[in-house]
């Protein structure tokens, strides 16, 4: 591994931070425009009311799925050795859900009423269920991340008693893992069901979307965790990774992708048999229409087939470059799937005239303001992870974290 010279590294770090800050400032400005002028500044319409921001929201929640799956693996299946990886995943999860929250605040027409779902319950609504689960799970993630924040050196020096308390949350990790698993299983699939229950949109109206959403989320969530760990290890010395752990995990990801491809195949195939107004057009949009590049190249070839081959083949999996490429492709494929799912239903306009099967297509391209504010949200995610790597040691497989934390509880002032 080639690491940059220390002074060069510092400059690179500053440039990286500066670039991200610029993107965040631009994003904040765009968000300000959205809040002051209203959603008229977007290219969303009554025909296509959900677009880029919903994709960011769905994708960032999905790539956070590494947190619940790895925590469940460590604390419920007893795969203790993956604990340091679960730690990274939990931190990424907290960032991902925060990003989702930001994009939702932009997307709803009345961000000042974001709390209404918590007070006014419509238990019949999947969106209500998702809102409640996401809110509760965000709280779980905050608790799960307490021991991570306790690693912050400055805080540790100033308030050792506080960090010791924060570190103590590690004791609740198994309970939090159970709660997190339940909440995540619910809302990760319900996010798909939000689309799947709508009778009025024949392309979406099927039970499979929720299943596909959770399987793809688990694969991409773990992929992002492993990818981010490996990338961090190539860029900074602050990171220690245990490659054999990550290698095992990527092998497993390869098999999840196979399962996902299997479901995806049957899901798509059953839709090809008969003509169903709206549904057939939705599928055509994916296989031959405006979304076909996204579908065939982004989702199927690069998002599934190539990563499966690279990850299940021992030779390519062992080479960090190919492994990282495959993992990045999985994440890209997931984003493409979320984008395509949202649009393939919305771009089809079904007539309500009696006896008229006329189906029309509409179009959507995000506006500059949508893109800039979306980039700001992404930049926030990168910034938070970079800071976590540098100051909170979120990627550290070398130390037995359990042991280190127990020591911290008994000797609050101890730092290394």
């Amino acid at each position: 591994m080639k690491l940059l010279h220390k002074s060069n590294w510092n400059i690179a770090w500053l440039v990286w931070m500066g670039a991200l800050s610029l993107l965040i400032v631009a994003g904040l400005y765009a968000a300000l425009l959205v809040f002051s002028k209203g959603l008229v500044v977007t290219n969303l319409s009554d025909r296509v009311p959900w677009g880029l921001w919903i994709t960011i929201d769905l994708s960032s929640i999905a790539v956070s799925a590494g947190a619940f799956s790895l925590c469940a693996a460590v604390y419920l299946l007893g795969l203790k050795r993956f604990q340091p990886v679960a730690r990274t995943a939990t931190f990424i999860g907290l960032i991902g859900y925060t990003m989702a929250l930001f994009s939702l605040l932009l997307d709803i027409g009345r961000p000042d009423r974001f709390w209404h779902a918590i007070v006014f319950w419509n238990k019949h609504s999947l969106l209500w269920e998702v809102t409640m689960c996401v809110t509760l799970y965000l709280a779980v993630l905050v608790f799960e991340c307490m021991p991570i924040f306790a690693r912050f050196e400055w805080l540790n020096r100033r308030f050792p008693a506080l960090t010791a308390k924060m570190d103590g949350f590690h004791r609740f990790a198994p309970i939090l893992a159970v709660v997190g698993l339940g909440l995540s299983m619910l809302h990760q699939s319900s996010l798909g069901a939000i689309y799947g229950v709508l009778k009025a949109r024949p392309y979406w109206f099927r039970p499979d979307i929720s299943v596909l959403f959770i399987i793809s989320a688990v694969a991409a969530g773990m992929s992002l965790t492993v990818f981010a760990s490996m990338l961090a290890s190539r860029l900074t010395k602050k990171v220690n990774i245990d490659d054999s752990l990550l290698e095992r995990l990527t092998f497993f990801i390869g098999w999840i992708l196979v399962v996902y491809l299997y479901f995806r195949f049957w899901d798509a195939l059953t839709m090809t048999y008969t003509y169903e107004p709206g549904r057939t057009e939705g599928l055509n949009l994916l296989t031959q229409g405006t979304l076909s590049f996204n579908f065939w190249i982004g989702e199927i070839l690069l998002g599934l087939v190539v990563p499966i081959l690279l990850l299940l083949n021992k030779k390519t999996r062992a080479i960090p470059f190919w492994r990282m490429l495959a993992l990045a492709l999985v994440v890209g494929g997931l984003v493409a799937y979320r984008w395509d799912t949202n649009l393939s239903g919305l771009l089809i306009v079904l007539s309500y005239l009696p006896g008229d099967l006329a189906v029309a297509y509409t179009n959507y391209h995000p506006s500059l303001i949508e893109i800039v504010s979306g980039m700001g949200i992404l930049a926030f995610g990168f910034l938070a992870f970079s800071l976590g790597v540098r100051y909170l040691e979120v990627v550290n497989h070398q130390k037995a974290m359990d042991h280190a934390q127990e020591k911290l509880i008994t000797e609050p002032a101890a730092t290394d």
Binding site: W50, L198, Y352
Partner: protein
């Protein structure tokens, strides 16, 4: 020993009382729910496509009375082919479905059923997530993408606003001019008969293509027409049970 026996008896007693209370509450809940479902009035609208000329007066009167911005139509009139030589139109208010997808999906219960069947919108509660818009099979809902603060071009020619303007960022739709119905009923008038208790679009229609009334009342005009003539509702295959009925155009004999 004695103590534990007493405890057991107490426990059983308490359980019995608890069960009775829960059962009683359920009965009360049931009774009130069924009363609410039935309602005193069940409002419905009949639109005669044979009479509709597509003039669009209904859309304009609706805009004025409900202070709807010019780029939104709660009540859209669009061409729907032709019968013989005559062009046919379809006017589409909110269908006020009995099983409304919008009510089912709203995360904050901003859309609700009224006992008389009107699907209501609570504009103070709506968070603007637009899930209802995505769920509605009739495109009957519109989002306020920007603030409507200019003068309403439909006012005063087509009527005066009777309800407050909706704020930016909420979804809005036709509610069968519930404010006219409620005020009319409180003054002893009958919806569908007295114009002041009837939706603006029904009153303004120059050809009398719209008929409004209570289908719980077998003597009302809507009940009589629906008994006499074949009618249809939009997207009946979706089982949303709309309260808007269409009389299909008949070829002139």
């Amino acid at each position: 020993m004695n103590e534990s026996k007493l405890n057991r008896r107490d426990f059983l007693k308490l359980s019995a009382i608890g069960a009775a209370v829960i059962g009683g509450l359920k009965v009360i809940q049931y009774a009130s729910a069924s009363e609410a479902e039935a309602g005193l009035h069940q409002l419905a609208m009949v639109i005669d496509q044979g009479k509709c000329t597509g003039c669009g007066y209904c859309t304009l009167a609706c805009r004025a009375h409900n202070d709807v911005p010019p780029d939104i139509s709660w009540n859209e009139v669009s061409p729907a082919g032709q019968v013989g030589e005559k062009p046919v139109f379809i006017a589409r208010p909110c269908m006020q479905c009995a099983k409304a997808p919008c009510v089912e999906v709203c995360p904050v219960q901003a859309s609700t059923y009224r006992p008389d069947g009107i699907v209501m919108m609570d504009y103070d509660r709506c968070i603007g997530c637009r899930y209802c818009e995505v769920a509605c099979p009739y495109s009957a809902r519109s989002f306020n993408w920007e603030t409507f603060d200019g003068p309403n071009p439909a006012v005063p020619e087509w009527g005066e606003p009777e309800v407050p303007r909706r704020p930016r960022g909420v979804v809005e739709k036709c509610c069968f001019c519930y404010h006219r119905i409620d005020r009319g009923l409180s003054l002893g008038m009958r919806p569908g008969i007295d114009p002041k208790a009837t939706p603006a679009c029904v009153n303004v229609c120059p050809t009398g293509a719209r008929i409004f009334g209570d289908i719980n009342d077998p003597e009302s005009t809507v009940s009589q027409i629906l008994r006499k003539r074949p009618s249809l509702r939009l997207r009946e295959d979706l089982a949303t049970f709309p309260r808007v009925y269409y009389l299909p155009p008949v070829t002139e004999a």
